[in-house]
């Protein structure tokens, strides 16, 4: 059993804080982020933007012809929360911190963080834009208030 398969005494998978970069259908997403490009899947048959997590075929027309296309990086906060407890040691020094559901202008929604402002200042409906946070092996899309 690898370290990532570790589980707690209640049988739940131990939390981790790194993305699963080997996910086949998500490779372009992570590759493009390294170049500071936020992309989403779009169906070439019917034009639908895919929801996350990524998948091989369009959920609307079931076509397997799709590609990762750049988006504006602009979006709106659908909802948000403030964590007062750290489920992973990496976040112990960050509480309280924001996690938001960000609806991109093109439609797809991401779980992400609104940063650069205190968590109590985040609001539902707030306009946000993407910023890129580089880590050693990957880049995370995060969001800051627009303008």
């Amino acid at each position: 059993m690898s370290k990532s398969e570790a589980h707690d005494k209640r049988g739940r998978a131990a939390p981790r804080n790194e993305p699963f970069l080997a996910e086949v259908e998500a490779q372009p997403f992570w590759d493009n982020l390294k170049e500071h490009k936020l992309t989403v899947q779009q169906c070439n048959a019917c034009g639908t933007y895919f929801n996350f997590p990524p998948q091989a075929m369009c959920a609307k027309c079931l076509s397997s012809d799709n590609e990762w296309v750049p988006v504006s990086g602009k979006g709106t906060v659908y909802s948000f929360v403030t964590y007062h407890r750290a489920w992973h040691p990496a976040y112990q020094d960050q509480i309280p911190y924001n996690v938001s559901l960000v609806d991109l202008d093109e439609g797809p929604r991401l779980v992400s963080n609104v940063i650069d402002i205190p968590p109590e200042d985040v609001q539902v409906g707030m306009a946000v834009e993407v910023v890129f946070e580089d880590h050693e092996n990957y880049t995370l899309p995060k969001f800051k208030p627009s303008g």
Binding site: N51, S79, V81, H84
Partner: protein
Amino acid sequence: MSNLSGKYAVVGVGETQVGKRPEATTNSLHVEAIRLCLEDAGVDASQVDGLLTNQPLTDAHRSYAVRLAHMAGIDPNYATDLALGGATPIAMIQNAVMAIEAGMANYVVCVHARKRATPDPTPGYPIRSGDEHWEQPWGHFSAVANHAFAATRHMHEFGTTSEDLGQIAVSTRKHACLNKNATMQKPMTIEDHQNSRLIVEPLHLFDCSLESDGGAALLVTSMERARDLPRKPVQVLGMGQHHPHSSVMDAPTLTTLGSRRSSEAAYRMAGLGPKDMDFAQFYDCFTITTLITIEDYGFCGKGEGKDFIKDGRIEVGGEIPVNTHGGLLSQAHLEGIMHVTEGVKQLRGDAVEPERQVQGAKAGVISGHGGSLCMHASLVLGVQ
């Protein structure tokens, strides 16, 4: 399509002691619940020919139902694990009805137990919700936070407050204090709720359900067979399900859930509506879940829940008593199977402490809710 409403019934229930059961295992709690259920029903394990389970977190058998059957002296013609999170116990009753109607079984046991308050020495395997790798890199963990998203959004759209959610915790605790088999026995005030620590804001500790050890089981059979058994049969009048999304990332809304369409289907099958219900046992993994469910099940309009829950309206003696056993918030979290056993006991009329008995109860509605607010099942039960 023929209407099966009233054709099948719950004829036995078993509830283990809940709370901390350090001496027990997940397996022993399952068997204990089955034994108590069959004793209650006056049916022998050798007569049971169907078994439905919820795959436990701590057992790696490919079919837990088959494993459990042979730990409990059952030789099933029909057995399977169901996987709808907290909607599973209700889905079990629904599947039992379907299996008996299809002629595959005559007596189906529906059982769930879990061991989350004390360690379980059984070798297990890690279980996931499935979308963690699209959430955890941004520091997003746990069911609390997904429900906190719904709470923030409900507050934004309708002006609901944390104190309003606290009222659900307070009313539920009142019921737990009347239930000898409830973990929490100390009354709670809104002030206690507000003073409990924030976990994932806007949800406080007292908005969250318990971690529990325990189990419960129900026996389902036909009304025809029920007439030969000792207990007053509690009929399955209505059933529904709806699963409108799979992740918070593809949820069309977090303030109206599968509970809307699922309850409409159950009421339609029963030929009844919210006004005909004498009580409601509503899944309460978090207080916000109960609030949204009260609205979606038609007890008030969308967004009106915050006012509806006040003035004792959801307490025993009120307009629609909700979670008369103390719920997941204050009795025990066994994924909602005790919402179902409590509904049956209320309708028998002589099976709970008199202080929390809903007088003259003839029909009640029960909800189950699972995953990232994505799975829902409904049950209307009644007695003649």
